[in-house]
Symmetry: D2
Subunit: 140 residues, 4 copies
């Protein structure tokens, strides 16, 4: 369970659709924004997540997630999401997210993480992560 | 373009996730709620929309939609959505939605409609609607 | 940190909007569905969450959440969400959710939990939970 | 009802959360993406939509919307959304959106429009648009 060094930053501005009647970002939307940061990082690494969406024999579903919301996030807030991937054996990886304010230096608004397991679509049993993902986890 | 009589009612309570920082239902979520009413009506008629999601040779995508928002809709509001299907030839149908307040008799909060076209997934050309949908449009 | 007995069940049918191109419920939407179950339980107990949305001097934001996704959940699946509230001192409570299949007896699809802290809106410091919520946590 | 010339472009990459089990962007999400383009354009013009979210005496709700979906939009597709504002008297404006593929030159994937009316929050009657919005509509 080795901590990897690749850290990529995804910039995001909070939209009206992200907020709720409490005037802040709805909690589950923060996890969605984290997932967007993951998708952005994969795309930057030349990995097409679309390949694993239903046509492939393997899938990489999220098996668990968690988040801590430290400060309220409002409409129009500019965020920087940092994603740190961490390999967990041959079949699983974890992503740690840090959601910082772009407007106030160093202010952490939330932290989160998601665990992803590679499975054979038919048997739904674990299988080895594809090479492209493995290389990304290893920081290339 | 014959107006059909089958009218089914879908009850819905506005959730926090439906609202935005303006304290009302986010406009696009109202269209999502209308689509839920359509799905509910299909399920009640014994039609499994899931069959047309990617495994089938045909799909029935929405080709257009429109909505008018007459009154603000708030968190916790109880809605009744009425769906009126209308056949448009062999390959298309339109759904008209009326979103009423369940709390204030007869108060129309919004109206909307969506148009759905049956297509062959490979060629993406129009094809005849499946019999199950056709029977539903004809009021069974 | 006393385990409370009140268990309420919220029934939910998976909508098209809940799913993604991997053909299963998008992970963050499962947390949204859990929150809907919480809202349903509050409403059943006669508590209007709307009162705490911006007009009140207090708010009850979610400070953390976590979920484990045990089995894929598909379009049209009928779910039963069970919510168990647990009091954590005077200012905080935790909700534990069990998402079961209504179609296959006893099949647990996911588990989740959310922690909620009562705060003074202006100072953003912790304050005691309102009596209505406290009574709900104590099983009325 | 004068056609204005200001055209701004908003770039967007389709996320997993935008798609549904039919493997394409869920129709209502396309309208949400259009609204994001509107928010981006306002922010670029130095207008803070956040000011009109509940604290102000006026609000600018969407009173109607419509969209035509011309081609399927998939996970990872890169879009350019063009927004053309059009003034409709002193109290209303319309936004016309053109959603183009960034990957295939000139390919229009969808078109949409939304109508926005300025209202007094208390009386909910129409009032004149704020100067900042008016200047934006006039192309500055």
């Amino acid at each position: 369970m080795q901590k990897l060094s690749s850290v990529d930053r995804y910039d995001y501005t909070v939209c009206l659709a992200d907020t709720d009647a409490a005037r802040v970002v709805y909690f589950a939307n923060m996890l969605r924004i984290c997932h967007e940061a993951y998708e952005y990082n994969l795309a930057r690494a030349g990995i097409d997540l679309g390949e694993f969406l239903g046509k492939s024999k393997m899938a990489i579903p999220i098996v668990s997630c968690r988040a801590r919301f430290l400060l309220p996030v409002y409409y129009g807030d500019r965020l920087s999401i940092f994603v740190k991937p961490e390999s967990i054996g041959e079949t699983e990886f974890q992503l740690d997210y840090e959601i910082k304010s772009t407007m106030v230096e160093g202010k952490v608004l939330a932290i989160a993480s998601t665990n992803h397991v590679c499975i054979d679509v038919k048997s739904r049993s674990r299988c080895n992560l594809p090479d492209s993902i493995r290389r990304w986890l290893e920081g290339k």
